[in-house]
């Protein structure tokens, strides 16, 4: 039954690793939190906690400014 599909418990990746600072230079790590299109993945999907999502968003936006991450990307290259 579709209704009884158990919800996966999502834990914030950053809380798990006890991250205090999300670095905008770490392009590889940030790429995990954007879609193929370059959009930031909402935390209801990624499971990131509120505090870290705010830090993450800032980091991604900074990385975009210096061309480490795309503003928009083609989904198929």
């Amino acid at each position: 039954m579709a209704r009884e599909r158990h919800a996966r418990v999502k834990v914030c990746k950053f809380c798990e690793n006890k991250t205090t600072h999300i670095d905008y230079k770490d392009e590889k790590m940030l790429r995990r939190f954007i879609t193929d299109r370059g959009k930031i993945i909402p935390r209801r999907i990624s499971g990131v906690c509120e505090r870290h999502q705010r830090q993450l968003t800032r980091a991604i936006k900074r990385a975009r400014q210096i061309a480490l991450l795309p503003f928009v990307a083609e989904s198929f290259k």
Partner: protein
Amino acid sequence: MPLYETTVVIDSTLEESAITEKLQRFVELLTQAGATEMKQNRKGVRKLAYTIKGKDGQWRVQADYTFIFYEAPGSAVKAIESQLRIDEDVLRYMTVRYDHEPPSYQELDSDAVSDPDEDVEVDAGEERAASVEDSEE
């Protein structure tokens, strides 16, 4: 005094010596403006996430990245940014203020540049990046 980090993205079609010279000039400028505890982290040539038009009107797909971390009065930021804005070979620049020294730089103190994600580099840049690593150790 506050901590700042300035990212400088320089056109990689420039000669290696010209880039180093340019960076040297920016660092000197900062020192003159009262910057201390300077840490320069040259990442070398990296692929750009989007193409940027260079001064000759051609689109650049890769560029040379450098991060300069320093402690300085706000006037120093003004000084360097005005220079970066003028320079046509600087494709992008960004200054970020920190309240505390980020962990990435505390690590940098002990072991120079040892990034596991160096493979983002494009072929042409690999050699150059390697040489930079050596010199910083």
